[in-house]
Amino acid sequence: MIELVNIKKAFGEKVILPDVSAVMETGKVNLIIGSSGSGKTVMMKCMVGLMEIDGGKILYDGQDFTNMPEQERKNVRRQIGMLFQGSALFDSMTVEQNVMFPLDMFSKSSVKEKKARVMECLERVQLKDAAKKFPAEISGGMKKRVGIARAIVLNPKYLFCDEPNSGLDPQTSLLIDKLIKEITHEFNMTTVINTHDMNTVMESGDHIVYMYQGRKQWEGSNKDIIFSKDEKLNDFIFASDFLRDAKEMRQMEMFQEKDWRNKLKKD
């Protein structure tokens, strides 16, 4: 579990996060959503320690990450896997070497064991055949999957994904979402995803934090969103007529489902 307690962040005079508190739950896909400039990327960078916060605390399973000595911080970081927006694969290495890199750096296993683990991860993301290719030779969706394989190779406790669907077609996007969701539930990870993608919100959002102008505006699950009365959240999530119609239909379906359940209970 990751807890953010009254975190504050400003760049000079510009306050990005005035005072945010949130909890990212274990075994769930936690989403941070919000329009551009709402502070969600800054929040994620503060959580992983790429940016220092100006006030408040970040707790990883109760351990204060903010005031930790550097060495302890490194130990926590070794339990973090991160998928970057642009995948951040090492250009000069093959797919296999990219996934192998964290193992080479931190694992004391034999080369054979490491190779087996790499293949296991690549198989998990369905990329075993691309092991010998370089990042320049594979598609954007494949790069993201390699990024996921690299992020999970050390069996992390926490998985962070910065806009995992950006620049992907809807089908690949769904595949990535499914993969992240499966991995999270299978390994009981604390997954935090920063996204704009409505499919991700509706399909994967076990726990959602909606950010508006640097503040936490709303918190709940993907089921709660359908019935939420928060205007700002509704304007953001159901921005088009098509999405608003889809929301009404989903509400109807959920009501009908509830009626059927009640009827079945009575019978």
Binding site: E70, N75, R77, D104, M105
Partner: protein, 249 residues
């Protein structure tokens, strides 16, 4: 302007300080160090070969052109060529060229890694990126660049010998005789000392500019150019300082 200088200088010192921590995996650091040795040393051999040969040849021809007096023996040409190449041309000119070749490569490599979040990815894994990415570059430069300068010195003098022979300026015997005249072993110490100082500048200054790039492809190009310019200016400045301190009779 002054404040910007102090800001950069302070950040540069902090970057150097940040390199020193216990390596996460010594084997990986060694691998990276060897890769840098090959990139910096073997990768620059071709250009060092070419510039030092021509540098020696041109020096011989120009000195012969200037020393036209019949009372000056021809062997003096070789003596002047030797000292010019060892004291100045091999270390300074070679390092200016290396600042362009190696410096821009280091700055753009690190800049690209920063912009494409590869450095962030390594930081999150718990790697000290200054130690893993910058330290091997500096150590590799400190070892390979003095070697390149020794090669440049030998080739420069050999180029001078050949140019003298082929141009009918002086014979090989006269050249060898000149090379042995008034020989000061201290000059070698001076050239090597300079090469260590320049090697440190060539690796660390572009590393600073590349590591701290912010923005996109355009900024990588700008950082690369700035790194080469600052490196060249620092090399020339240190060249004067070292000459003023170490070459006093």
């Amino acid at each position: 302007m002054e404040f910007r200088f102090f800001h950069h200088f302070g950040s540069y010192l902090l970057m150097l300080k940040g390199m020193f921590s216990r390596p996460e995996n010594m084997k990986m650091y060694w691998k990276e160090f060897m890769r840098q040795c090959v990139d910096i040393g073997i990768g620059s051999l071709g250009i060092v070969f070419i510039i030092s040969l021509f540098m020696g040849a041109v020096t011989t021809v120009q000195i012969a052109y200037q020393l036209v007096s019949p009372i000056i023996p021809k062997a003096t040409i070789a003596q002047v060529v030797r000292d010019t190449i060892i004291l100045e041309f091999a270390p300074t000119l070679t390092c200016i060229v290396l600042a362009g070749v190696v410096g821009s490569k280091i700055a753009s490599e690190l800049g690209n890694m920063r912009v494409s979040e590869q450095i962030d990815a390594q930081e999150i894994m718990g790697i000290n990126t200054r130690g893993y990415l910058i330290m091997p570059k500096i150590l590799a430069s400190l070892i390979m660049i003095p070697c390149l300068i020794c090669i440049a010195g030998f080739l420069g003098i050999w180029g001078g010998l050949k140019a003298g022979e082929m141009g009918g300026i002086l014979s090989a015997d006269q050249f060898w005789q000149g090379l042995r005249q008034e020989w000061k072993p201290y000059n070698i110490f001076f050239a090597l000392f300079k090469s260590f100082v320049f090697a440190f500048i060539i690796a660390s200054v572009p590393s600073y500019y590349g590591y701290n790039v912010q923005g996109g492809a355009l900024e990588i190009g700008k950082a690369s150019t700035r790194a080469v310019v600052v490196t060249c200016v620092l090399i020339l400045f240190m060249d004067y300082i070292l000459a003023a301190i170490l070459l006093q009779n």
